[in-house]
Amino acid sequence: MNIIQMGTITVISTFPSSFLHGFLFNLAFSLARLSQDEERNTVGQVYFYEMLGTAVGGASLTYFFIPNFDVYWIANLVGFVSNTSILLTYASRKKSSLLLCAFFSGLFLFLLVSGANKKLVQFSLKRIWGEKEIIFSENSMYQNLTVIKNDSEYTVYTDGLPYTTVPNPDTFYIEEVAHLPLLFHPMPKQVLLLSVPPEVAKEVIKYPSIERIDYVEMDPRLLQIVEAVSKKGEEERKVKIYFEDGRHFVKKAKHKYDVIILGIKSPNTLQTNRFFTFEFFEDVKNILNEGGLYFFSLPGSNYYTQELRMLNTSVFIAAKETFNFVYVLPGSPNFFILTDSRVDMSADILYEKLSNHGVSANLISKAHLDYKLDNRKREWFLMQLEEKTERKNTDFTPFAFFFSIAYENLKISPVTLSFFRNIYNLKIEHLFLLVLFTLLLLVLVGAKKGRSVTLTFSVFTTGLTMTMTEVIFLFAYQTIYGYVLYALGILLSAFMTGCAGGSIAGARIEKRFRSFEGLVVFEIAATIFLLVILFNATIFKEMDPQSIKLHTLFLALLFISGFFIGAEFTLGVSSYLDVNRVDQRKGIGVIFASDLIGGFFGALAGSFIIFPILGLKETLVIIFVLKLSSLSLFLLIPKK
């Protein structure tokens, strides 16, 4: 699926509910106003309940409903509850509408109790996988896992892509990944395998010199499923398996290793990018014995597109800064060997080692080693690397992640090529100019229209900047913990609770002080908050990931980000009405739209363009500058 298709599906699937959400907000406000004496507080209250509902909904969906029920059952439940609540609330109103609600309520109840959801699940699986024989499909904490039977073979899929096939895997990949690193080491004894297919472990076990194999896989279900469809050999029991994130394992490992092999093939998510960064290479170096090596693969080809070139270069630069020697065996994929000791690249010597170990392999032969180690090919690869770049892949400047996505898109959506290639060259100076230009424009418009411009822009930038910080915190969370989907419910709930809390605080301030002054105070506070984040950007790296402090910090930061949005929305509406003397619903509409449009652009630009290209530090700088610009408008545009 390409980016255009992803965007279209996202819009189609979320637009109806988002549209109704916005529609209901205004409707709820009108209804609530009927039973309230003081109109202005009604906005804050409706906003509060909206955010509270979103927070509770997000958390309960993630932690209760999704683990226990399928999506169709949940959707039916939502349909049933919505229709029944209308029936109960407006029992005395128009009968024809109520009859319709009663019909739908009954229909959803029937679907809930009749078990029709199971048939829908089967139908949906059939639509996704076609005529293939589905042996198994479930969502683990990390990914969707599906097993397809094809003749006498089983292919295990993770998130719709083949992970491994048993009993006949891709021998080229399995044997090269298992044997090459072991042959490069003089005498491997301690081996660490990170997220490799189990077949790699089977090859590694063949080496009699190996005393210890630690096998780390993040998703226990994945390994259980592969084992369930494989015949388990007795010798595999020698392998010690750890179900945890490989990155954490390396960070706190007490053992040292001769060879560390990574089975992740591409940094195409922030989760996987963490194994190809400068920071991880440093951690790996700390647990390697003298002469030890780290072996991993990256996408390669006969021809290097700009994306593939940059992807490999950003990782190569990070590796070069950490290890004395970085060897690359080009192919599809490329194999990287990172070590502090010189490695003998002679096929003769490697083949002799293979013989001395008494290991037999299907693919690895003298001729194959000659081919893989060909000096001309290795030098050719070095010539493909980008010379004029300092784009080092790090945890918080995930260039390899960005270029992996760009490379994948080149394949499935060449029409987006020019877009990607244009944003490669995005620099913070460009964004500074954009902010400056916008500011000048607003000052000119504000000279005519007065402070409503300032108010709208401040709510817009708060939505924009706080959503960008939210996205950054989510990225940072994924980078540190290796997963975000599972925690998304609680993280987003913290953000939404912040919004709800902010709206209450805004309403209180509005009661005691003037809304406009209150808004200025929150603008100043938001700017200071962003400045504090900017100067403490490295705090995430420095704290222990397992500590409760870091978890709390993430939740607190998300809460604060949401808090500013909620407070500024409530105060923004009041101030807008003070300044413009327009109909209240119009005022709410303008400010609500500014908030949401800001949030939309914040999420899109932050996740898709600015963070992956500029990295954490520069993104935080631009966020701060944006907020500073809206604050400065309060000074630049006088009251009319």
């Binding site: 083949p162 021998t171 006969n302 593939l308 299907n362 693919l363 032969s365 194959h368 001309r376 090919k377």
Partner: protein, 366 residues
């Protein structure tokens, strides 16, 4: 002081000193050999190189993206400007009956006249030579490089060689004089006349027979089967050594009846000694969510081919499988033992089985 790149070029990568990056679009052009101008239509031409017969107005690119109409003349792009230049074992092409374990200088310019959803060189096959970074490597230099790098053959491969037909033809002409074999891996989508001209220079061709029904070609490659079969017959008539590759994609071209039909056609039209490679599919390009071909499916295909009477049937992408070996059709012993692209044992003597003296068809000497 030398930069790292220049040092590498000078000290370690001497053969590729010949190759420099092209920096002007214009230098990629050479007038095409097979096209005609359309009467009464200003500057419109029809390309006659492949069965697509693209009608091109001024400035248009062909379907292959490698031919362009400039002011009523058709130009071949990418002439003397390959984007990929590598030295591979000839088994990688795959050729199993052409000088085993010899090095082959493999070149390609960008573009392709098919749109296979499972293409493994999509980075260069689905773009124009104007979009790739190319080496400056005219025909004479290709041959010099092949000699310098001790390559027994020059392979026109990776993308569809028909796209860089003029470049291939000129290179092949020089190579033939110098005693270097010309081999190509093609989709077989080419017209009779250009193919006949090429056949006088080319020694061996591996044709991708991607499936054996039009529906498959239409759905996955945007092409037809018949022109490919015609190509195979012409090559046979012209005495060019043919090997056939059939990538078996589960659920698309793995029906046993279709495979049988294909094998019968090969035997009847090309003879029993044409090597047939059944290759295992792995998720690739736009078909990256498909399971790999079960090895049992490939084994069944091989059984069918042998039962039909084909002598040399191989399995590809299954290293270590016995189906990679060449067996003598008389004594049934392994004459050439392989794993992957690598030759493990050679029991061939002067083109004959060392055990029983049976002739094994192929090109065994340069």
């Amino acid at each position: 002081m030398l930069s790292r790149r220049n040092f590498l070029k000078l000290a370690l990568f001497t053969p590729f000193l010949l190759a420099k990056t092209r920096d002007t679009e214009k230098s990629l052009y050479k007038e095409a050999l097979y096209y005609f101008r359309i009467q009464n239509k200003k500057n419109q031409v029809e390309c006659q190189l492949c069965p697509r017969g693209c009608l091109l107005g001024d400035g248009d690119l062909g379907f292959c993206r490698a031919r362009k109409n400039i002011n009523g003349r058709l130009y071949a792009l990418g002439y003397g400007a390959p984007c990929a230049v590598h030295v591979d074992p000839i088994e990688k092409k795959p050729f199993f009956h052409v000088i085993p374990q010899s090095a082959s200088l493999s070149i390609a310019s960008a573009g392709c006249n098919l749109r296979c959803k499972f293409c493994q060189n999509w980075q260069i096959s689905q773009v124009s030579p104007m979009e790739t970074v190319n080496y400056e490597l005219p025909p004479r230099k290709v041959v010099d490089m092949a000699k310098k790098m001790k390559c027994k053959s020059i392979a026109y491969t990776y993308t569809e060689p028909t796209n860089f037909y003029e470049y291939m033809l000129d290179t092949a002409r020089i190579a033939k004089k110098e005693g270097i074999l010309n081999v190509s891996h093609t989709n077989g989508y080419i017209n009779r006349k250009p193919l006949e001209e090429l056949s006088s220079l080319i020694d061996a061709v591996n044709v991708d027979l991607k499936g054996f029904d039009d529906a498959f070609y239409a759905k996955l490659c945007e092409a037809n089967l018949k022109p490919v079969l015609d190509t195979l017959k012409i090559l046979k008539t012209k005495g060019v050594w043919i090997e056939i590759t059939n990538l078996v994609i589960p659920g698309y071209n793995d029906r046993e009846e279709t495979i049988r039909e294909m094998c019968i056609w090969i035997k009847e039209n090309l003879g029993e000694d044409v090597p047939l490679h059944f290759t295992r599919f792995f998720p690739m390009y736009l078909m990256n969510s498909l399971s790999p071909t079960p090895v049992s499916t490939l084994e069944k295909a091989r059984e069918i081919a042998i039962s039909v009477g084909l002598s040399y049937v191989y399995l590809g992408n299954v290293p270590g499988h016995l189906g990679e070996n060449t067996y003598c059709k008389r004594c049934k012993r392994a004459v050439l033992k392989r794993s992957g692209f690598n030759l493990l044992e050679n029991n061939l003597k002067d083109g004959r089985c060392k055990f029983c003296g049976q002739e094994i068809k192929g090109i065994w000497k340069a």
